[in-house]
């Protein structure tokens, strides 16, 4: 059964991208374990506003685990200690009375801090813009059933397509690599006949963009897969590497 608990939250505060940051600790009493983690932060912010202080800035939007807007590095884990969920789906029942919870932003060269816990993830958009699509204009496409696609291929493509672009993989990686994110999109499209045509070109241009934007290399530690809220598999990285090598051989 859910109870009310007393906790302390130790939160990273930073006024702007170039300012020096620091931790600030806030005690919070009578937090229902039935409330979500972000609702706990709402309660904290309500308290801060009532005390005339500036609330903690953090990204969030859909609060049902699909938009990818929420981030937060909680007690050393992207999206917190519970597996297979985003921060907005994390509930206070994962914590105990008396806990001190440490909350930090994503920390990576590719994601500069904007304020407090909010980071800039436009690098992900730039990587997709470099080639994460099928080059087809709006217009008269062929009938949707004209090309049968084996169910297993479609399912595998869907597994990869489930990526929400939150950046947990980068935050989890000691190298700050975006390989899991890039490979998910490359895989999804490489597995489908519609995307197959441009598969090698896509892999090459997306990887080049990722390198250019300051993300690190992949050393197969697998931390990204463990922390991914959508359980995107690192086998996608293997598929990306194959596509990338093929592209390089062709050069």
């Amino acid at each position: 059964m859910d109870k009310d608990i007393n906790i302390k939250v130790k939160i990273w505060r930073q006024n702007g991208p170039k300012e020096k940051g620091h931790f600030e600790t806030f005690p919070l009493g009578n937090i229902s374990q039935g409330s979500s983690f972000l609702e706990m932060l709402d309660i904290l912010n309500e308290k801060l506003i009532n005390e005339g202080k500036e609330p903690v800035v953090f990204d969030h939007d859909c609060r049902e685990g699909i938009c990818g807007m929420c981030s937060l590095y909680i007690n050393g884990h992207p999206h917190g200690p519970d597996g297979g969920i985003t921060t907005c789906q994390l509930h206070m029942r994962s914590f105990n009375d008396g806990d001190t919870i440490t909350v930090e932003p994503w920390r990576s060269a590719g994601f500069p801090i904007i304020k407090d816990l909010m980071v800039d993830r436009t690098a992900f958009d730039k990587i997709i813009q470099a080639g994460g699509y099928v080059s087809v204009n709006t217009g008269s496409s062929i009938d949707a059933n004209a090309i049968p696609i084996p169910r297993d291929d479609a399912e595998m493509a869907m597994d990869a397509a489930a990526c929400i672009g939150c950046g947990a993989c980068v935050a989890a990686c000691k190298n700050g690599s975006a390989m899991l994110f890039v490979s998910a999109k490359v895989s999804q499209l490489a597995l489908l006949p519609q995307g197959r045509v441009e598969a090698t070109r896509r892999a090459k241009s997306m990887v080049a963009k990722m390198d250019e934007l300051g993300f690190g290399n992949c050393t197969n530690t697998g931390a990204c897969e463990v922390e991914c809220p959508k359980n995107i598999s690192i086998s996608n990285i293997a598929r990306l590497n194959r596509e990338f090598l093929k592209a390089k051989f062709k050069d």
Binding site: D2, S32, S35, E39, D42, E46, L48, I49, G52, E54, P55, V57, D61, C62, R63, E64, G65, I66, C67, G68, M69, G84, I85, Q89, H91, M118, D120, R121, T122, F124, D125, I128, Q129, G131, G132, Y133, V134, V136, T138, S140, S141, I142, A144, N145, I147, P148, I149, P150, R151, A154, A157, M158, A161, A162, I164, G165, Q188, L189, L192, Q194
Partner: protein, 647 residues
Amino acid sequence: MNKFDAKIPKGPLADKWTSYKNNQKLVNPANKRRLDIIVVGTGLAGASAAASLGELGFKVHNFCIQDSPRRAHSIAAQGGINAAKNYTNDGDSVYRLFYDTIKGGDYRAREANVYRLAEVSNSIIDQCVAQGVPFAREYGGLLDNRSFGGSQVSRTFYARGQTGQQLLLGAYSALSRAVHNKQVELYTRYEMVDLVIIDGRARGIIARNLVTGKLERFSAHAVVIATGGYGNTFFLSTNAMTSNGSAAWQCYKKGAYFANPCMAQIHPTCIPVHGEFQSKLTLMSESLRNDGRIWVPKKLEDAQAIREGKLKPTDLKEEDRDYYLERRYPAFGNLVPRDVASRAAKERCDAGYGVGTTGLAVYLDFADAIERLGKDVVEARYGNLFQMYEKIVDDNPYTTPMMIYPAIHYTMGGIWVDYELMTNIPGLFAIGEANFSDHGANRLGASALMQGLADGYFVLPYTIQNYLADQINVPRFKTDAPEFAQAEKEINDRIERLMNIKGKHSVDYIHKQLGHVMWDFVGMGRDAEGLRQAIEKLKEVKKDFWTNLRIPGNKETLNVELEKALRLADFIEIGELMAHDALDREESCGGHFRLEHQTPEGEAMRHDDQFAYVSCWEYQGEEKAPVMYKEPLEYEFIVRQQRNYKS
């Protein structure tokens, strides 16, 4: 009466769109390069429109408030998208999809618009597959379908429980390609704060850069509003936290008509409210009603024992359960439209049969489905939804029935548009949920995705050219025109005023008050007395807001509380207009249920002789009552009937 013209093409229903396209004006490629279009919003409608217009050669400026276009709330749509492909050979057709949509909307939508929607639905599926959207497939490699509320055929295409995500990522990928090709310029973390009108035409916007807090000016030959609905007026809804009605409201205040504001959809299957600290409600997809059975205890004493925790739902025998939808609506059963299902749940709970600790919940039970299909099949179909439920409620829906209750989900009302999706302000267009056009008084499941993408991919890219063809000699604008300066000054003054209240309440505190008034009096069941009370109470909320609000920090910096305050100021006024419209419409239709107007069986009772119109509200100025015009809904092709889901 004829203050505005909906510009419906003449001729037989099935020929209208073709004949429009054959006769409309187009813009040649060289001229397209010289024309700028602002698209506000990057959801299904906004992203698909921005990408398609960019591909055509227009110079597009696309704005969103999130950090990336991929976050727009279309992403959260779960169940699917309708199309009249008839791949399942179960009798579907363009006409039937049109008919179901008109009937589902309780005969309060335009025939011509809805027919066009059904007509382009098939192209959407083709387009999405071409983009690499991984729809669910059969073992033979062809696309799978499932059924949704309000129809007797299976015409819903889906990608697990994440159809909105996959369709939005498809549109986002097309948009990203257009950005790469320099056809679209993206502005993320920007919020439109006013519309700029020059010589009666929409010519630009003022937007606030949410990172720097600075106001910036943008000009264009046309402005497209694709900013979704205003469901968050209720504070608790299934909308995302930043979903808001402000862009639409700014257009209204600049003279655009706001149509059918009272028509809001209450979705029957959401996770029930659990506490005062709750920030939003989570939807459980309508697709669950394909296999889940909805029930409450048949006996009052059992319901009470369950509420007190003395009895478990699984203890109740079959004969002690009331499958009230199957009982009341044998032909459609658990798959009645959303408004009908929501009201039926409310009726049972109000009568004392509700479950959960609050008594405001009903069961959605999968025990039969698990027995019939096996747990694996149920898991394959709904696994992610079950997981989502378990994380929130801490209960396993494979073994205990889910608890659900209705919640605000979608707004059918919105900015008035004609057949070309243009508002009454020349050059101002509205697409997707932001407009009022296609769903009448109630939207059918899996039709929002269809409408958003229809507008963005296949309708607006045509109709906007009919307007822009006359604008080819208009050179690009500078933003130093006095109209831009004036609009910027007004919004700056408004921000100053908000920052200077320096009261004692947070934005959320007041937003919750607004939500309570709206849910209690402008919610699922409305009556004249309650609506009048709501109007009085909303005046108090407004006064409280403008005298007691506290916004910490400064205006020219990242300030989330200020962003929320600007939106809430508009939500309060939207709430007032909703209440006025609901009071004015003395009938029940679709999502708008007036307690005074129901059949003896408790079904919605329309009054077609008096209310077969779109109510179009025109802003008259601060503290002045708005004026309402009526766009008559003359049906040429369909005979209105009492909606019947019983037989």
